[in-house]
Symmetry: D2
Subunit: 445 residues, 4 copies
Amino acid sequence: MVPRYSRPQMEAIWSPAERYRIWFEIEALAAEAMAGLGTIPAEAAKAIRDKGGPRAAAIGEAEVARIDEIERVTRHDVIAFLTFMSEGIGPEARFMHQGMTSSDVLDTCLAVQMTRAADLLVADLDALLAALKARAMEHKLTPTIGRSHGIHAEPSTFGLKLAGHYAEFARGRARLVAARAEIATCAISGPVGTFASVDPRVEEFVAGRLGLAVEPVSTQVIPRDRHAAFFCALAVVASGIERLATEVRHLQRSEVREAEEYFHPGQKGSSAMPHKRNPVLSENLTGLARLVRGYATPALENVALWHERDISHSSVERVIAPDATIALDFALARLTGMMEKLTIYPQRMAANLESLGGVVHSQKVLLALTQAGMSREDSYAAVQRAAMATWEALGTPGGRDFRANLIADPTVSAVLSAAALETAIDPARDFAHVDTVFRRVFGEA
Amino acid sequence: MVPRYSRPQMEAIWSPAERYRIWFEIEALAAEAMAGLGTIPAEAAKAIRDKGGPRAAAIGEAEVARIDEIERVTRHDVIAFLTFMSEGIGPEARFMHQGMTSSDVLDTCLAVQMTRAADLLVADLDALLAALKARAMEHKLTPTIGRSHGIHAEPSTFGLKLAGHYAEFARGRARLVAARAEIATCAISGPVGTFASVDPRVEEFVAGRLGLAVEPVSTQVIPRDRHAAFFCALAVVASGIERLATEVRHLQRSEVREAEEYFHPGQKGSSAMPHKRNPVLSENLTGLARLVRGYATPALENVALWHERDISHSSVERVIAPDATIALDFALARLTGMMEKLTIYPQRMAANLESLGGVVHSQKVLLALTQAGMSREDSYAAVQRAAMATWEALGTPGGRDFRANLIADPTVSAVLSAAALETAIDPARDFAHVDTVFRRVFGEA
Amino acid sequence: MVPRYSRPQMEAIWSPAERYRIWFEIEALAAEAMAGLGTIPAEAAKAIRDKGGPRAAAIGEAEVARIDEIERVTRHDVIAFLTFMSEGIGPEARFMHQGMTSSDVLDTCLAVQMTRAADLLVADLDALLAALKARAMEHKLTPTIGRSHGIHAEPSTFGLKLAGHYAEFARGRARLVAARAEIATCAISGPVGTFASVDPRVEEFVAGRLGLAVEPVSTQVIPRDRHAAFFCALAVVASGIERLATEVRHLQRSEVREAEEYFHPGQKGSSAMPHKRNPVLSENLTGLARLVRGYATPALENVALWHERDISHSSVERVIAPDATIALDFALARLTGMMEKLTIYPQRMAANLESLGGVVHSQKVLLALTQAGMSREDSYAAVQRAAMATWEALGTPGGRDFRANLIADPTVSAVLSAAALETAIDPARDFAHVDTVFRRVFGEA
Amino acid sequence: MVPRYSRPQMEAIWSPAERYRIWFEIEALAAEAMAGLGTIPAEAAKAIRDKGGPRAAAIGEAEVARIDEIERVTRHDVIAFLTFMSEGIGPEARFMHQGMTSSDVLDTCLAVQMTRAADLLVADLDALLAALKARAMEHKLTPTIGRSHGIHAEPSTFGLKLAGHYAEFARGRARLVAARAEIATCAISGPVGTFASVDPRVEEFVAGRLGLAVEPVSTQVIPRDRHAAFFCALAVVASGIERLATEVRHLQRSEVREAEEYFHPGQKGSSAMPHKRNPVLSENLTGLARLVRGYATPALENVALWHERDISHSSVERVIAPDATIALDFALARLTGMMEKLTIYPQRMAANLESLGGVVHSQKVLLALTQAGMSREDSYAAVQRAAMATWEALGTPGGRDFRANLIADPTVSAVLSAAALETAIDPARDFAHVDTVFRRVFGEA
């Protein structure tokens, strides 16, 4: 992932040096397990740990370059790494990797990296959820117009909007936790998963120490449906980011102006137009969502490996495992900051709510009419007539508003007095159940 | 979905008539709930149920056409349906749909359809799992070569291969059950989810009767991350289908011939070449997997609806909800039948296993050499030398096999006697842990 | 594709009966070519044409069912068709399909169907281009605000917006014409493309009669990169549809109200809210665009068939070839109608243009200041200052507009008189080059 | 893109420093154009070029960091760059970027980068085409079995296989050239594409100098359908890579062994199994193809920007423009090297061709029988009977081959003598038209 969209903690998980350190840990743990089972000498395991540990810990740019150099000859990354480690460990190094296959190391390492990445993403989501909850509580009863099809529908509150996004990200978090569990497995089962040359207890030991489950049945690799499900879970979270980003972009439109991304001192909105303050963060998040979603497709294509494995998944994962997790980590952090600092304009929300002459109360009138005995069809026709007349007169000086148009309609006034009309459209009714929803979402109102 | 890939039970879920019947059930239940709360007269709810029930039950092609005709005027499907029902129910029909919005009906109906579809798919998976388990048990110890990169690696058993696919589909089933729970929600919350004109207890009542959970917070619609997660779950199952289909296609290759799709009496493999027996079912499944995967992308794009909803998701779902579930239902059933009837050729598996002169035992020799004191690097070089010599001589009359080449190598024979070599590569060791894996996968060995 | 999104002419191309009729035409032409070359008796070709022609022409539902019935035994569609035709043609039928393979028929038929579908889509695009051009000419100089990031930027014209969409669809048309040429090939080259049993001149003859090019080199099939490129071309057109649909959705928002989809007499916008008039057509188009885009992914996955072919592409194409072309045909026609009837509100456009107190002229002031000698940085700061002050005062009674704020700034008034300011922001300058753009796009202004 | 899959020449196009240099070139050319038109002083343009040129040329890591630092304040990349340049140019810098908007620079720069990238990719394809042609000519008449469904079908030649891939990449090249032309446009049209503050002749001048066409109508940006079509073209090329890679993977399978990727001295195929020589390059290419294909989806989603533009496309393009072109460049170069060095085993091809007892000649017998007067149905049955008997006896000592089974069938021998049978299946007939195909593909045979 490009530096612009990378945060250091997530990036560190995917660094070559960190990868080698995890490889070593797996090899050292496996050797210790084998020593415990008597498969290799206890001194060998000790030597691997004692001499290899510091060597692995010290891997930096120069050592990575040295391993790369060996790989250019062997054309095999794990063998290059083992050769590099052997140089430091000495003859006991031959007891490393006994009966194992490269994928035992590679796939268990990937599981360690992906679970760490998932942990960061879950923490990111927790921060986002906290921010959303705080803003939702703050604006629990801030009236705003609810819109369907981009058209004013009925009153809602800004807190309710945010509660919906909160609930969506809470679901995303649950899916991510489930997906984390799916990819948190360890396979040390040999070239075709038969444990022909490695005892299953080695796998159990290493898994336990790394906080992973054993992979019940592997081929040469951990099955890729697990990873596909993981990337799909990221894709759904990304789509939720896009939904909230799209909401903010809409609210910041010049004609709406109900909310605005924080505009920093010194910030310039446009090189050409000094008046511009643009929702660039939420637009950026929209693009990042597309990226993260896009990585799900190759992850799905990775599942159908040939026989006990082919290596076609590897190039895909070298790219998308860091790219998808780094981009999503960045996006979640950006979104959290953006929501925390979002400038919200309740007056503007109130003004927009009233800007259509009251037609947004049409359903309540419709109900009042049907309850007063008018047929649904007639009620609908009367209300639509009044609403359309109001709409046509919008902005016209002296144009009648929705209430006036209703009262002027004899079929309406025949069944509904002006007072009854006011009662019917009392805005207090609109928010009577906000508490119910908040209790459902936050467990408190 | 085209008839060729449709099975009647799944197709029925998505028929227009069934959709209208579910709509009616939602409206009738909502009316009953409202009557219980005193919002509408009890007689109205009774009339809706008593007169509407038979009318809805009788919806057939003619009635669908009549509703379509009304829709051509109203340009709104739910209003067209309500109008049609009103014609049969009479004046009390005006109490139908009180305070509700179309999406309350549409989305709750979709939840009913998708959960039913999910139930069929889970049953399909159960049948597939049973078939795979039976064949896995049958071939638990049938030796076959494990292959990585399409190259012979080490011995495995055909049962182990199938155990891996079994475990993958069991995970797919678990994901589908989770995804089913995600989309099994009912929303009856009015135009922007505020319950402004409908009591939340109506939602609770209808949800309970339909076996759904209430949607904790909806906009005008049930949030689409739920559906996106559902289609992703289908996509991962589809990829698992492709993996097994690819395995069968490989096994049936002319050069491999280890398994073969059942060839029916009367079947013709090719219009031109009467000798052909092709793995057409598994190829077909490969294509169906692509289709089902392809539907995940638009489902993900459906999440970011505008504000409290726009209707862009609707056209997508009208197509992919039936198409993805129908195609997957067909594919799972086809795969189950194919696996049940798959002709398996153990002799051919045995012959292939031995066809490379014994090089497939190379890792066991490598281990024996390192345990006998040779360095890992020297051992690797010796074994690779013998393996490559064996490879070059393949098919040459009198060519030395792997054992012979090893014994002929003085660096090998210096540390490993011929007898020790035989012990090292004893095939019994290869399958010593098959029981362990079977216990992990099937809970029994 | 569901009936709701299907138009009869496009649907007819993909009907089973039409498919069989095209198959027959290919077989009959091939027989005639072979007769011409003396490979089969001239009377045989004549019998095939004379007896087979009417039989093929008469294929209806019953005949399709009969062929399906035969296929249930042969499990091979082309053989089933040949058997059906043989029943009508008699013994000379054995000269049909000589040296050919099923794919010769299937793929050439698909080429015929796809080229016909492409022709319809090109005609659809022509109608859309005509509609866009007419509306662009009509509103060539209708002032409207140009928006970037959803924020008012600088004045533009509604005609210019439409010119941009026109140019995009003109490019889409050109890509579609190129893609049509790509899939317009005929392959009659036998089981593995060697012409071992069929003379290449047969392919040339059939291609010529069907208006196709010969496929220079086929395997058993016409290579699928051609089809992938075709579906990608559809996907790009679909994305262009989404762009225009998104524009209309924005323009119809309650706060914007610059344009509106035609609202039919009798139409109902919402079952709950009689005041609603929603941009449902453009939202529907947005969803259809997602569908058509989604079909590109499986089409791309179809390219890498095994060896001389496998049949995995077939199930994909049975679904996406009709679905993508039918949905796009429907979408283009719907979009054309929508644009022809789109209600446009120039007064509202004018009002919105002025609604931000004149800040939309900021760049012209910036330029005037730098040309009057102020540094770019100072100019930017001054203009941004005035714009922000204007922004803050928006809607406040007595709030100063942009011009007033500028004049009140001594650093500005020091270099720019009020008169010079007026000259600088003269709106006439904004549209001075509309003619240039129209000439570039339409070849006329 | 990760370093492992990056080649320096392509990477250089996308470096931050190169990007700034191109930005400067655009700004300097625009200034020169404006000076020519008298919009800005000639000395200003000269100062920009003379002082800015060296400053831009000297941009290295430190300067990039400095610009990044400015961007952290302005939060706008182009303004940060202009500020940096102004520091070196002095007061005349205020004449830079006059009347332009950031996107004028950004999008024209992207066009320069993408056309350069396309040029490299076209050169890559030329090298690949040369390699494929050389190998195709070399093996024009090397017999090999053609396979459909993975099953032996009829004889073909290895050269014919390669000719098919050659033709596919030649089409890919043509599509890429077309896509290059699509994205080779320059837009300098101001904030909303009206040329309100910049003369269209500036755009024409800059376009001409940069070897680009003018964008006939832009919004704030160059329309993104162009870029979407470009990424689709890359995706189709990538799918062609996967097809050839899949072919090699199949040919290298242990059971097939007809071709093999070059195995370097020192290379190790497996950390566990020294006998392994794996088709890792072609598997790697398969994965890279998935990646490149995956980038097409977000590119398509980038098309529907809001109004005159939003910036959601930017984050997508910052990632996929380098990633897709770098990965494809690497993949094409890797594939070319792989094909040049591919070890081909004609003897093994010949052995496989004969391994099914001659059934691969079934169609020729079928034709001979029908031409000898037997009905198509009877002929098919007889040939299938003989083929199946041959198949059953495969590998059985003394099992009859296809010829023997045919002659032993009285219905066959009644119409076809043994001599006639030999004539019918003469292998010379199989390759009679290879010259025709080669002439069509290469223009020479």
